[in-house]
Symmetry: C2
Subunit: 119 residues, 2 copies
Amino acid sequence: MKINEVAKLTGLPISTLRFYERKNIIPDKFVQRDEHNYRVYSEEIVDFLDDVKTLLSVNFSIEEISLLVNQELNLSYEAKKKSVEQKIKELEDIQKQLKKSKAFLHAVLDGTANFQTKC
Amino acid sequence: MKINEVAKLTGLPISTLRFYERKNIIPDKFVQRDEHNYRVYSEEIVDFLDDVKTLLSVNFSIEEISLLVNQELNLSYEAKKKSVEQKIKELEDIQKQLKKSKAFLHAVLDGTANFQTKC
DNA sequence: ATGAACTATGAACCTAGGTTTATAGCAAGC
DNA sequence: GCTTGCTATAAACCTAGGTTCATAGTTCAT
């Protein structure tokens, strides 16, 4: 598969595919080079990139994904579990903050926030 | 009050105070210049900046704050109410996405996500 | 009255996750 | 064999919310 086909199958722009490679989150086993230096992807790249999209959507950074991908061998199940649990905690913190923010905005609408008088 | 005192009272770095002014979210009534071009702030700036901090924390952008602040006169109560309601909707969208993300990560921990096998 | 501390400005720099541009080498259809 | 299209790279650009730097004028304490 050449890069254009991967882009079509994953919905990711070609520029993003090259960017991910630069960021070191595409293992070599998914992408080789042909005799003219063109990228040649294996079929499994599609599922792999779907995983990457999912991780990004659940608030993993590219750097964190890079760690998961590249330390694959020495990263134990326990370590991966910890990473996921940590991420869940982060999401819960964001949820708490969001809840407060919503309460504040509702108070503004109700006129119970002392904010309106100033702004 | 000079900029250093405002920084101490609000906890905002001096650089941020100057940055906010550049971004046009500090009304003139809160900041004048003395004979040497030094900024001279009124006492009310502190409460005003607390409001700004609150708005930023509930997901308003500096540009949105600028609109609220600068169109103060021609922005009706209804328009402001709409702006707050819109922001609440945005927060709710983020909440929904966050909920999905957490569910996904829990599924990963449970082993019910088909993701682990690949990564 | 002089050196340290405070103020000012514009411009460059920072992170994150990409996108765009300039330039050049292959490829495929007519 | 030529034109259009695909591929490659490095480097610059983008947004947002700031921070840092270089340079210059001001003020305070000794």
